[in-house]
C-alpha cells in the first residue's frame, strides 16, 4: 500500500515524502513539491539548452514576483476550499480594492493608511456577505459567490469605467521596491503564506476549518460553530483578494477596474489551490501546496516566455497540467483510503 506513492518520474521513496508531508502539514503537499521540482528541473534544462538563463537571481526573482498576485489570492482561496466552500468573487474584489484604494489615495501619501483600511473594510463586508449567503441562506457557494461577483462587477463598472485615482508614489515601492534583490512584494507573499500556514496549523480556527471541511456535522456535534468558521474563512479569503488588489494597484499606479478579471484570478486561484493538492471537497490540503501550485504555473509562464512559446499553447499545457496533477492526487487518495 505504501508502494509507489507517486506516478511521477524521479519520485523519491515514501520516507522522504513522509518527511516532506510532516514538514508541510499537508498529506498532499509532498507530491505537489515533486511536481514543482520536476517542472523546475525540466525547465532549467530546456532553457539551458535554448541558451537562456534560468537559475539566475534575476530570473528567480522574476518568477517569484510573477507569483505574488496569484499567490496571495490563492492563499485566501485555500482557506475557503479547505472549509468545503469556494469563492468566485475574488477577481472583482481585487478590482474593487485596486480602484477604491487608488481613488482614496489620489497620490497623497498621507492617505495610504486610510485607503488600506477602507479597502480592508470592503473585503470584510464582501467576505461576510459570501459567508452569510453560504451558511445562513444555504445558497450553494458556487452560485452565492458567482452572484456576488456579478453584483460587484456591475457596481464597479457603473462607478468606474477607466483608470481611477492615483496611488501615492511611496506606495509604488510595494510593487517595485525591495531590500537588495528581494522585492517587497515577494516578502508580502511569503508573509501571507506563513500567516495562513500558522493560522491553519496553530490556531483553534485553523483546526476547526479542517474539521468543518472534513465533516461539518461531526464538527458541529463536537461543539464547533461551523457557520462562524465558514464565514471567517470567506472573510479571510476576501481580505487576501484585497491584498492582491493593493499589490496590483501599486504596480499599475492607478486603479483599473479590469485588473482582476483580466488576470483571471477567480478560476486561476481555484486551479492553483487544487493543483496544490487541496481537495475541492474540503478538509484536506494546505497552503504550502497552494504556494507550490502557484509556483508551478509561474515557472511554466517563465519557461514559455523564455522560449517565446505561443501564449495560446501555454493555456493548453496549463489545462493538461491542472487535470493531470489532480488526477494523480485522486488516484493517490483512493489508494490511501483503502
Amino acid at each position: 500500500m505504501t508502494a509507489p506513492r507517486m506516478a511521477l518520474p524521479g519520485g523519491p521513496p515514501g520516507a522522504w515524502a513522509r518527511a516532506l508531508r510532516t514538514g508541510l502539514g499537508s498529506a498532499n503537499a509532498a507530491p505537489v513539491y515533486l511536481v514543482l521540482l520536476v517542472i523546475f528541473v525540466v525547465s532549467w534544462v530546456i532553457v539551458g539548452l535554448a541558451g537562456g538563463s534560468f537559475l539566475t537571481v534575476e530570473n528567480v526573482t522574476s518568477v517569484l514576483v510573477r507569483s505574488v498576485a496569484l499567490g496571495i489570492v490563492s492563499a485566501g482561496q485555500t482557506l475557503v476550499i479547505l472549509a468545503g466552500s469556494l469563492d468566485l468573487s475574488v477577481a472583482y474584489v481585487i478590482s474593487v480594492a485596486a480602484v477604491v484604494s487608488s481613488v482614496i489615495m489620489n497620490g497623497d501619501p498621507g492617505r495610504i493608511v486610510i485607503a488600506v483600511v477602507v479597502v480592508l473594510g470592503i473585503g470584510v463586508a464582501v467576505g461576510l456577505t459570501n459567508g452569510l449567503l453560504v451558511t445562513k441562506l444555504r445558497v450553494n457557494p458556487f452560485i452565492a459567490t458567482l452572484g456576488v461577483a456579478l453584483v460587484l462587477r456591475g457596481l464597479l463598472n457603473a462607478a468606474f469605467d477607466n483608470f481611477a485615482g492615483k496611488v501615492a508614489p511611496q506606495f509604488e515601492t510595494l510593487g517595485y521596491g525591495g531590500i537588495g534583490p528581494l522585492p517587497w512584494s515577494v516578502i508580502l507573499l511569503v508573509v501571507t503564506v506563513l500567516a495562513v500556514w500558522w493560522l491553519l496549523r496553530s490556531t483553534p480556527f485553523g483546526h476547526h476549518l479542517y474539521a468543518v471541511g472534513g465533516g461539518e456535522e461531526t464538527a458541529r456535534l463536537s461543539g464547533v460553530r461551523s457557520h462562524r468558521v465558514i464565514i471567517g474563512a470567506h472573510i479571510l479569503c476576501s481580505l487576501a483578494a484585497v491584498l492582491t488588489g493593493l499589490f496590483l494597484v501599486s504596480r499599475i499606479r492607478s486603479g483599473a477596474p479590469w485588473i482582476g478579471p483580466d488576470g483571471g484570478y477567480d478560476l486561476e486561484s481555484i486551479a492553483a489551490v487544487v493543483v496544490g493538492g487541496t481537495a475541492l471537497t474540503g478538509g484536506r490540503g494546505g497552503v504550502w501546496g497552494t504556494l507550490a501550485g502557484v509556483l508551478i504555473l509561474a515557472v511554466l509562464d517563465n519557461l514559455f516566455n523564455q522560449l517565446q512559446f505561443n501564449s495560446f499553447l501555454k493555456d493548453v499545457v496549463r489545462g493538461v497540467i491542472i487535470i493531470a496533477a489532480v488526477a494523480i492526487y485522486a488516484q493517490r487518495q483512493r489508494r490511501m483510503s483503502r
Partner: protein
Amino acid sequence: MSVGANGAPGDVTRAAPAAPGDEADPWQRRLVRLMRGAGPIFVVLIVLLVLIALKNPRFIQPAVFLASYLKPAAPLAILAAGQLFVIVSGEYDLSVGSLITVTVTSAALLIHGDPALTYPILALLFGIGIGVGLINGTVTTRLHVPSFIATLGMLLILSGGIFYATGGAPRGSLPENFRAFGRAGIEGVPFLGQLPYAVIVLLVVGTVFWLLLHRTNFGQQVFAVGGNARAADLAGIDVAAIRTACFVLSAVSAMIAGVLLGGFAGVSAQVGETYEFQAISAVVLGGATLGGGRGSVPTAIAGALTLQALFTLLNLFGFPAPLRSVVQGVIIVAAVAYASYRLRRSR
C-alpha cells in the same frame, strides 16, 4: 464537487415536494408538483414578458417575438437544456463556453466560406463535440478529477487550442448555408411570418432532451445518480457511463448552440464568452439543484428564456449595461436562496 455548507443532503436547494400522505393519482400529483416545484420561474418569465410588451407593444407581434426574442434566446436555452443533464447527474460543465467558440471558429477555419463543405464539417464538429464530452466524462468518472476542475482544464485546452490553430483571431468565414441555421427561417408561415430555424431547432432539441430526461430509463438513472451515486452504484447502475453520457449531451448542446450563434452573427472570437456561467445560472433559475438529483428540462429552458427576457427588458429601459450584471447576480442568488428556504420549510 462538494459544496461545503451545502454538502449535506438536507442543505442543497430543491423544489418543494408534494405533501406526504396525499393520495392523488400520479398525473395529478405530477401536475401539482410541477406547479409547486417549477411554477415560480414560469410566473417570473410571464411577468417579464408582459413588462416588455407594455414598454414596447411591437414585441408581442408574433414575427417580432420570434425574430427578436426567441431566435436569439435559442442558443442559451439549448445550452441550458444540455447543462441540465450534467447538473442533475451531480456534476458541472464549465467547458461549454469555449466549446461554442471552438465550434464557430473552427467551422469558419475549416469551411472557409465554401458551401459544399458545410455538411461534412458539421458532421466533423459534432464528432469533436462528442469527443470533448467523452473526455470530460472519462476524466471525471475514471480519473476521479472533480468535474469542476476537469472541465475547467478542458476550457483552457479548448480555447488555447483553437486560438493556437487560428493564430489568435478567427480566420476563414461561414457560408450562407451554414449561417442559415441561426439566421434564416421558413418564410411565409401564417401569422408568424418567418419561422426561424433556430426556434425549430430549440423545439426539437427541447423535446428530445425532455423525452430523454423525463421519459426514459436513462433519464431516471440520471436522477438516481445525481440523487445518490452510491445507492445508484449499489443498485447496478453504471454511474460512470450515465455521467459520461450527460457530459456528451452537454457538449453536443454546446455544439448546436455554437452553430446557431455562428449563424446568427457570424465569426467572432468572443462568441462563447461567459456562456458556461449563463447556462448554469439558467439551470439554477429553473430550480435545478447544484449537487444533483433535481431539475427539469422545461424549467431549465424557462430559466434561459427568463435571463434573455431580463436582458431585453433592461436594455429596453436603457438600464446602464453594468447594472444588468447586478440584477442578474441578485436574481440567481435570490432564486437559490428561495428554493433552499422552501425546501427547509417543507420539512
